[in-house]
Amino acid sequence: MIFEYAPAPESRSVVTLRETYDLFVDGGFAPAEGGEYLTTLNPADETKLAQVAVAGEADVDRAVTAARRAYDTVWSRMSGAERGKYLFRIARIIQERSRELAVLESMDNGKPIKETRDVDLPLVAAHFFYYAGWADKLRHAGLGPDPRPLGVAAQVIPWNFPLLMLAWKVAPALATGNTVVLKPAETTPLTALVFAEICQEADLPPGVVNILTGAGPTGRALVEHPGTDKVAFTGSTEVGRSIARSVAGTDKRLTLELGGKGANIVYDDAAIDQAVEGIVSGIFFNQGHVCCAGSRLLVQESIAGELLPRLKDRVAKLRLGDPLDKNTDIGAINSAAQLERIRELTDSGAEEGVERWSPPCALPSTGYWFAPTLLTGVSQAHRVAREEIFGPVLSVLTFRTPEEAVAKANNTPYGLSAGVWTEKGSRMLWTAERLRAGVIWSNTFNKFDPTSPFGGYKESGYGREGGRHGLEAYLG
């Protein structure tokens, strides 16, 4: 019999969208001097959500000046315990408003509500709670007897986890006594603007957090502004490179979290059904818009014939559709531009001769959608094995020996994440020791925790966020 789950959409009524959103500078909302606005869309149906101001150089200057004043007069002078109180207050307000934030994040980004509700928002609150706890204990962090804040931090974050990336950046910066000017991505600015309201609600001193919306030029103006002491960026390797160039020669500190092409290694003795789950969450979580996604499956040749049908069977059960439906597993691609890029790269794989498979899957007629896709018969020489696709597309490769698995896993310009699936502890440790990646998951994938440092090797960037290590990027 067919068991059709009835649609179970989360109510939009918890979200009050304003027509236009201005910049958040020095504790208040103010229009951009240039008077320019951009429109943010719901990627699931292409409807307009709101207009947000585009910050120009003058606005950046205003925000940096406000942040500097707040740093000099209030925030850096405050005791750690007092700063901690503000962070705890912010964390609690986030929890109280988590349903509203989850729905808004889902509308703005296109990711399923079950991920914003069950993953993003709990982690966002946890990051603020975690770093709130560090605020009065910095001298016990193993970073010297009297670690000092750096000053004003310029932070530029991506569209894949808008609020979570904000938390990763803002929480440690504030805990350590820095003030921030943050630019969210142009396609997903809305939860950052609600976060600005939360800062007001928490009575955070004006200027400690400033939020400037806009696109690439806004980010560039912010990063290049001489009044900032620290730049933190999460996004593409290409933009990261240009930021590194512009910061070179200044005394600004820089951390970069860039792209990835994570290997998910499945040995022949793995718990096969759980490995299939891990492969699915490794690449289809957040539509594959995850820099640490397990986008290259390396499966031992002797079990490839058994694993692949199971994987296809499982992928066929993924439910794609309305991101606000609580039963949706795969939501929309964030933007038309990203959809185009995924198409281009996936097509190039087909042209290069890899086999392409997607389950029978009805895509909604409006919005940006891409069916979950497996590319098999992939070799290291194919573009789809080398370049980051940043979409729900898994490249499947095989290996015969552990040495070969490690060699293939490391044979990439990136080094952000890897997964290893085996029931044998010694093989797990042998492999993990040899993988050149910042995070290695053992019999799991895409698990995050505020206490655990996260960051990359090679072209995946430098510096660590999260955990005690995450404090280091904001202390001198």
């Binding site: 019999m1 009835a6 059904d273 029931e423």
Partner: protein, 315 residues
């Protein structure tokens, strides 16, 4: 489907061969199995889907009384309820079966005559199973002779845990034969097997020995039918089907008390084994108090209000 290594059971049945087969099955990662079950528990089943699920669950209930204090009167009352769960609403489907101790089979068969509801019996020295094989076989034959159409047998957990898979296997084969035309449900008592690896092995062992159903528990041991255990058993029957084309049923029993619990089980069935298992022929829920909650939720859906517990019969 390609040949799976879960499929290649050995031809010659020796303890060694069984051991090689069972220990050659892929392992189960506990954390991952729990996470998957937890993820499926967040499926939101509402309105039409919920109405469909409730009627399906009612038709899958093996309405059970397994108490030392059972009397013919109690069993007859249960049978009346099985055939007509809600006298106030004749659209409610009848349950899957009534499950009783062997000495109550004749009473139940008599009470259910003409209703279409079958009688299941926990023959085989339930719940411990600690009796000689001849006793278990006699118990089974007698229950079938009295009219039981389904036999719920317990496996010898002691033999399983000591690695004597052959003994477990041969007992199932023998009971299967003693059942004649009756269906055989093999109770693994997963709470005593403890690990998910053991649950997977016991599932394949029972299937290979001829079980028509594999069942989690007697209801006398906790934990019983937890979602991850049911998930592992559903994976076993799915793999068996992929390898041989044959479908074996699954019956969780013990601890399923609310409609929400039951619906979560149905979601597991739908997404792990597949929709083909969503029938009383391949999925049953062993329960006693669940039925009233299903009836209450059903009324809530049709009328919009919750009736009080006294609107449903207590036994």
């Amino acid at each position: 489907m390609p040949v799976s290594h879960t499929a290649t059971a050995p031809e010659a049945t020796t303890n060694r061969a069984l051991r090689a087969f069972l220990h050659g099955l892929p392992g189960v990662d506990e954390v991952g199995a729990r996470a998957r079950a937890q993820d499926l528990a967040t499926r939101s089943i509402k309105t039409t889907a919920k109405a469909q699920a409730i009627d399906l669950a009612i038709s899958m209930v093996d309405l059970t009384t397994l108490e030392g204090a059972d009397t013919p009167g109690k069993v007859r009352a249960l049978c009346a309820k099985a055939a007509l769960p809600d006298p106030a609403d004749r659209t409610v489907p009848r349950v899957g079966a009534v499950c009783v101790y062997p000495d109550m089979v004749a009473t139940a068969v008599e009470a259910l005559r003409g209703t279409g509801v079958g009688v299941a019996s926990v023959a085989t020295a339930f719940p411990a199973g600690r009796a000689p094989l001849e006793v278990k076989l006699a118990d089974t034959r007698r229950a079938v002779a009295d009219g039981a159409v389904e036999i719920d047998m317990v496996i010898d957990r002691g033999a399983f845990l000591s690695g004597d898979y052959l003994k477990v296997h041969d007992e199932i084969v023998a009971v299967r034969e003693a059942c004649g035309p009756a269906h055989l449900k093999v109770i693994l008592e997963t709470g005593e097997l403890v690990t998910y690896d053991n649950v997977r092995r016991a599932s394949h062992l029972a299937v290979r020995a001829g079980a028509d159903f594999i069942k989690t528990s007697t209801g006398k041991v906790a934990p019983a039918a937890t979602p991850p255990v049911v998930l592992v058993m559903l994976e076993a029957v799915r793999d068996h089907h992929a390898a041989t084309g044959a479908r074996v049923g699954v019956k969780p029993a013990g601890g399923i008390r609310t409609t929400k619990d039951a619906i979560r089980q149905l979601v597991l069935v739908n997404e792990i084994a597949g929709p083909a298992w969503l029938t009383p022929d391949l999925f049953r829920i062993g329960a006693s108090s669940l039925l009233n909650d299903l009836l209450m939720q059903r009324t809530r859906l049709t009328t919009g209000t919750y009736p009080g517990p006294d609107y449903y019969t207590q036994d």
